[in-house]
Structures are given as structure tokens and as C-alpha cells.
């Protein structure tokens, strides 16, 4: 059955299997039920362990690492409270299809089901949020489960897998080091062949007069950026991306119309209304983008995706190509013709000119949009940017133009406040030579603020850009626009002194409040490769525009200039 050698403990085997899988870094937090594994990890020369301050931080770090490097992210927790602290992060990874392996300790097999100390049924709890999970009952099964889990996490539409290891399984001896037979079918991890007719698919595109490419997070997962660029240029088709797809197509490219959806650009959302053909490349017609069945009402709709369950799930489409995005585009490219799309491109240019991203920069206060544009200029657009959730997230998406994939880290599906700081830490571990900036808000920052210690401990050069409006800004925006300015529980009547707080962790920090200080602030923030926090005081009234009100669709977009009309 299996290749056998000298018997080793389950814990030892877990470490060796991680090493063999090429895992170089793991993020975790020890505890009783996972101690045998940690004891073996102590001896590993290949795996670096990052001790976090809260298990939620461990998952987000693994996510930031995975998203920015394209590799598997690994996080570790003990049983019970350690494992349940992972849940928010795990759900986040599930919704954004990030390849994560979560390893949890469990009480010993004979104690399972007895409400033992620190027992939680993490297998049961994570059934709805994992792509695959397993409770490993004996050390002999360990190798097989590891191989299956890693293959499933990375294969097809990537995702989250969780393996739960009872303490005695970690101490049991086994000589089964390698799985000879897997129990899951190959289609769960092998790259699927492209199904559909690429030629016919291309011909519909060729016939379009006003085509639009709509690129999602799947493009990042499939490393398909080069192919998308080739396709757009060959077809002479404008490209819009979702929040998750930012960077999959260069934001500075003449064919780019930026982001679409709830806070996308007006020109992208208008292009959706006007196009006669929309080609969805690895997006999922998310409800923040495609509210109703009449999405792109004048267009033939086509969809390429690796996950067959996404076809016609929310929005019906006319043409389908099933497979890995990179492969699929390679197959249709030879059949794609240029065609004269001059008038469509001109149309797009005039949309861009007449409906630009806009904000009022007249007063003395600092506008986050302005500040972000300056950070963009100063970093030459080369930073890796993570965000938390709220207005700052949308401003960052709008005003920092992403030219490369894997440089934009945001919680798209779950919208998890607390994601930004640990994600930036994970990304910095994976990309020590790059500038990594966490853009956050005063609300979100306080959700995983304890990870400042992780930065300090590893002397990590993570930059924190904190926009402080003393509000849960996005909540306030909705309350202002849709709840007649009843600011129920969205204002902070207490915020800590963020500068002192950062300094307490040995992180240089500075606060700016007036426009005259912007230059100084940006310089301070980016002057060297070390960590820094800049707290930028911004007006609480500042809003994110454009905006498609919740429950409405592209037709109902409100632009900055329409605000007056809308409020009346």
C-alpha cells in the first residue's frame, strides 16, 4: 500500500510534509492540543514560524502572504478557542478563493465528543466554509490527508482547507510517509481541460461593436494577466475589473476603465450599460457589481470560469467556456480579430472625460483621495497595498492604480474589518524587498491592532496609512444618505492616541491635520524601508463617490456632482 520507512511521530511527519510541500513560513499560535507539533517545529530549519497575537491575525497573514506571492498560505492554531478564533479569517479566505491550509490541534481521540477541556468541533464548525476539511483519526492517514488537502487548496478554484489533528495522533508513530492512493477524484485538483468551443466563443467577440472585458479575482488566481492584456489589445476592447481583479490588467493602460460596481468608476459602470458584448473573465457576477438579471442590458454575455457552478448562478449568460482562465484565453486568442472599434473607444474616452473620479479639494482639510494620489506618485505605483474595510478601502481602490497582479490585497467577499494590518504583515514576509502599505481606518485598525506587536517583534517594514475620521466612515455615509443623518453608533467618542500607541510598539509615527503638512507627511511615511504609521485626519463628511445605492443597479449611479440632486 504505502512506502514504509522508519516510524516517526505524527507531529514530526506533519513538519516534514510541510517542508516537502515547499512551505517556508507559517503563521500561528500554540496551545496544549498542538504542542507535539510545535515541539517538532522547534527543530525545523526550513520553516519559519511567525507568532501572532490573535489567531484571526494568523489567517489574514497567511492570506496576505498567499495573495501577494501566489503560494499556499499556512496558519496554525490549537484546539477550542484557538481554532474558533480562526473562523472569521477562514470565512474570508473561503469567500475570496485564497489557497490556505489551516492546521488545528484537537483533543485526544478518546476525549472527542466528551466536552473535554478546550474541545470544539472545528470539523463540524468549518464544514460550510471550507473547500475541504478532515479530522485525522490516526497517524497512518496523515500523509494522504496532507497531500489531498494541499492539492485541493491549490487546485481548480483555489480555496481553504482545514486539517484537525487530535493530540494523540501527533504523538502516535507511523511509517506511512507518502500517500500511494488518494481518496478524492483527480478533477478536484487537476487542471481541467478547457470545455466549450473557443473558436465560436471568439467569433461572438469578433462580431461585437462595443465589447467590454470584465475581469475578476479568478484572473489573479490563474496568473492570467499577460493573456488578458494580449486579448484586450488584440480585440481592441476596453477592460474593467472588479474589486478583486484590480491589478490583473494595468490600471494605467489606455484600455483600462478602472473598477466597476458599487463604488466603481462612473465610466466603467456606464460602459456596462452601453456595451453590446460583455466577457466575464473569472468574475462571479457578484451582487456588488451585477445587481439584477438585466446587468449589461444591451449586451450578449459570455463567461469564462474554472468553477462550473458559477455559470448562470446569478446572471444568465449566452456563451460559456469552462476551464482555467489562462488556458482558455490562450485557446481563444488565435481566433480573435482586431476589428475597427474606433468609435467605441472614442465613446469610452469621452465617458472618462465627462465622468471622472472626482472630489472637492478646495478647503484646508486633507482629502484622502489627494493623499492617496500622492502616495501613489511617491511609490511610483509599485507598492503592495492592503486595506481594511470601509471608505478608505474604496478610495484606495479608486486612487491607487494597480498595474500588476498580486499587489492589491483586500477583503472583497466577506468585507472583513481587521484584515488589512495582518494581511500587510503576511505580504511583507513574502515580499521583503517591496514597499507594503496597509491603508486602514480608525475603526478597522482597532480590530486587529494587537498585530502591531508582530511587526515590532520581527522588525518588519510595514507602512500603515491610517485615515482617521473619528467615525465608522462607511456606516456614517450610509446613515447620512439613507437614514436621514441619524448617526446611530457610528461615531467614536473615544479613540486612543494612535501615534503614542504605535510608538509604544517602537513604530515611528506621525499625525497630520492640515493640507500644508501633506508633503511632510508623505515624506515621513515613505522615507526609508522601516515601519511607520501616519495618522491622517480627514473630514468625517467626506464620502465615496460614485456610488450605486444598495439594491439598485448601474442606471442609478450617483456621481460626486449629483450629490446635491440626490439629497433633495
Amino acid at each position: 500500500m504505502s512506502s514504509t520507512t522508519e516510524a516517526i511521530t505524527g507531529g514530526r511527519l506533519m513538519v516534514e510534509l510541510l517542508e516537502e510541500a515547499g512551505v517556508e513560513i507559517v503563521f500561528g499560535y500554540p496551545g496544549g492540543a498542538i504542542l507535539p507539533f510545535y515541539d517538532e517545529l522547534y527543530h525545523s530549519k526550513k520553516i519559519k514560524h511567525i507568532l501572532v497575537r490573535h489567531e484571526q491575525g494568523a489567517v489574514h497573514m497567511a492570506e496576505g502572504y498567499a495573495r501577494s506571492t501566489g503560494k499556499l498560505g499556512v496558519c496554525i492554531a490549537t484546539s477550542g478557542p484557538g481554532a474558533t478564533n480562526l473562523i472569521t479569517g477562514l470565512t474570508d479566505a473561503k469567500l475570496d478563493s485564497i489557497p490556505i491550509l489551516a492546521i488545528t490541534g484537537q483533543v485526544a481521540t478518546d476525549a472527542i465528543g466528551t466536552d473535554a477541556f478546550q474541545e470544539a468541533d472545528i470539523f463540524g464548525i468549518t464544514i460550510p466554509i471550507t473547500k475541504y476539511n478532515a479530522l485525522i483519526k490516526k497517524a497512518d492517514d496523515l500523509a494522504r490527508h496532507f497531500e489531498e488537502a494541499i492539492k485541493i487548496a491549490m487546485g481548480g478554484r483555489p480555496g481553504l482547507v482545514l486539517l484537525d489533528f487530535p493530540k494523540d495522533v501527533q504523538t502516535q508513530k507511523t511509517s506511512v510517509r507518502k500517500a500511494t492512493a488518494l481518496k478524492i477524484a483527480p478533477h478536484h485538483y487537476e487542471r481541467p481541460k478547457v470545455k466549450g468551443d473557443p473558436q465560436e466563443f471568439a467569433e461572438v467577440l469578433n462580431q461585437a461593436k462595443r465589447p467590454l472585458l470584465y475581469v475578476g479575482g479568478g484572473a489573479i488566481n490563474s496568473f492570467a494577466s499577460a493573456e488578458i492584456k494580449a486579448l484586450a489589445e488584440k480585440a481592441n476592447a476596453p477592460v474593467t475589473t472588479t474589486l478583486m481583479g484590480l491589478g490583473a490588467f494595468p490600471g494605467t493602460h489606455p484600455l483600462s476603465v478602472g473598477m466597476l460596481g458599487m463604488h466603481g468608476t462612473a465610466y466603467a459602470n456606464k460602459a456596462v450599460l452601453e456595451c453590446d458584448y460583455i466577457l466575464n473573465l473569472g468574475a462571479r457576477f457578484d451582487d456588488r457589481v451585477a445587481k439584477y438579471q438585466d446587468f449589461a442590458p444591451n449586451a450578449i454575455r459570455a463567461h469564462v470560469d474554472i468553477d462550473a457552478a458559477e455559470f448562470n448562478k446569478r446572471i444568465n449568460v449566452d456563451h460559456i467556456l469552462h476551464g482555467d482562465l489562462k488556458d482558455a484565453i490562450r485557446e481563444i486568442l488565435p481566433f480573435v480579430k482586431g476589428g475597427d472599434r474606433t468609435s467605441w473607444i472614442e465613446n469610452i474616452q469621452s465617458l472618462k472625460k465627462n465622468h471622472p473620479l472626482d472630489f472637492d479639494n478646495s478647503g484646508d482639510s486633507i482629502k484622502p483621495q489627494d493623499f492617496l494620489q500622492r502616495v501613489y506618485a511617491k511609490t511610483k505605483g509599485e507598492a503592495i497595498v492592503s486595506t481594511d474595510v470601509g471608505q478608505h478601502q474604496m478610495w484606495a481602490a479608486q486612487y491607487y492604480l494597480f498595474d500588476r497582479p498580486n499587489t492589491w490585497l483586500t477583503s472583497g467577499g466577506l468585507g472583513t474589518m481587521g484584515y488589512g494590518l495582518p494581511a500587510a504583515i503576511g505580504a511583507k514576509f513574502g515580499n521583503p524587498d517591496k514597499t507594503v502599505i496597509c491603508v486602514t481606518g480608525d475603526g478597522s485598525f482597532q480590530m486587529c491592532i494587537q498585530e502591531l506587536a508582530t511587526i515590532a517583534q520581527s522588525k518588519l517594514g510595514v507602512k500603515i496609512l491610517l485615515f482617521n475620521n473619528n467615525f465608522l466612515g462607511m456606516v456614517r455615509q450610509w446613515q447620512e444618505l439613507f437614514y436621514e443623518e441619524r448617526f446611530s453608533e457610528s461615531q467614536w467618542t473615544y479613540n486612543p492616541n494612535f501615534v503614542k500607541l504605535a510608538e509604544a510598539y517602537g513604530i515611528p509615527a506621525m499625525k497630520i491635520e492640515h493640507k500644508s503638512e501633506i508633503e511632510k507627511g508623505v515624506d515621513f511615511f515613505l522615507k526609508d524601508s522601516g515601519s511607520a504609521l501616519i495618522e491622517v485626519m480627514i473630514p468625517a463628511e467626506e464620502k465615496v463617490f460614485p456610488m450605486i445605492p444598495a439594491g439598485k443597479s448601474q442606471q442609478d449611479l450617483i456621481e460626486f456632482k449629483d450629490l446635491g440632486k440626490f439629497k433633495k
Partner: protein, 162 residues
């Protein structure tokens, strides 16, 4: 429309939760579910009856196929198949209606498992409609207890069979 899905899954703990959880989570309602191991002890067969249009059932099928433990999903709505349920019914009888009850049982091809002075315990198998039927016919006698298995199904090898 009612659809019957015949699903092959790996036979190990947690698989049932994975499958039934998927239905709950995505808001699909299960009418009945029946599970048993196949000739291969590593594989179980599940029959799930659900109400939904082709779109919903297509979604269910796609989502099921994403579970690593699901090996095959077959929608019986598009195959000619035999569908059966087993029901055990205990109901009251009196001296006066005993022969009437027995006549009904004969007509329905029912197996009598126990007869006492004032009760009958019977076994019946048929498709869902027939099972519902016999329950309603016996109801006037006074039903004491019912145990119903949920539907199982299998496609005919020869798709011209009815």
C-alpha cells in the same frame, strides 16, 4: 417540480453533514433523504428528493459536485427509473371493521407483520404517491404510528423501460 437525485458519496463520517449542510446553506429544501452503503463498503448511496425547477436542481448538482466526497450525481427526472419508499404503519381496528381492513390490505399488496385484537401492523412499499395513498385510506381506522424511510431510486439499465 419534484426531482430525485441519486448521489454516490464516500462512506465516512461527516459526509452526510457536508451534503445536507450544503442544502441548508444555499436555501434548498430536502423533501426526503435516504442513505445506505453500497456493495462497496467505501461508498454510500444517497437518494435526495427535492422540490425545485430545473435551474435550482442544476445549481444543487453543480454545488454537490464540488464536494470532494461526492462521486456522482444523477438526476432521475431525466432518466426512467424505479422509485420506492418503505412504510411501516400501525393502526387500530375493531371487530366490526377488521375484515374491511384486511380487504384493503389485500388490494394494496401489503404485508401484515402483526395482528392483535385491536390493531394491525403492516409493511408497504411503493412510490411516494402510493405510500401517501395507503396512509390516507387507513387514516379513518385511526393510525397509531408511522415510520417512513424516504425515497430510494435507481435508473433502469434499459432507458425504454417505464
Amino acid at each position: 417540480m419534484k426531482h430525485t437525485l441519486s448521489i454516490l458519496v464516500n462512506n465516512h463520517p461527516g459526509v452526510m453533514s457536508h451534503v445536507s449542510g450544503l442544502f441548508t446553506r444555499r436555501g434548498y429544501n430536502i423533501d426526503s433523504i435516504a442513505v445506505g452503503v453500497t456493495d462497496n463498503t467505501e461508498v454510500s448511496s444517497m437518494t435526495i428528493v427535492l422540490n425545485g425547477d430545473d435551474f435550482v436542481v442544476g445549481q444543487v448538482k453543480n454545488q454537490l459536485l464540488k464536494l470532494p466526497d461526492v462521486l456522482r450525481v444523477q438526476d432521475m427526472a431525466y432518466a426512467s427509473s424505479v422509485q420506492r419508499e418503505l412504510v411501516l404503519i400501525s393502526f387500530s381496528i375493531t371487530e366490526n371493521n377488521r375484515s374491511e381492513a384486511l380487504t384493503i390490505c389485500n388490494g394494496f399488496d401489503v404485508k401484515i407483520l402483526e395482528m392483535t385484537e385491536d390493531s394491525l401492523l403492516i409493511e408497504f412499499s411503493g412510490n411516494s404517491r402510493q405510500v401517501t395513498n395507503i396512509i390516507s385510506v387507513l387514516k379513518p381506522f385511526g393510525i397509531r404510528e408511522i415510520s417512513r424511510t424516504g425515497q430510494i431510486a435507481i435508473a433502469y439499465r434499459n432507458q425504454n423501460s417505464v
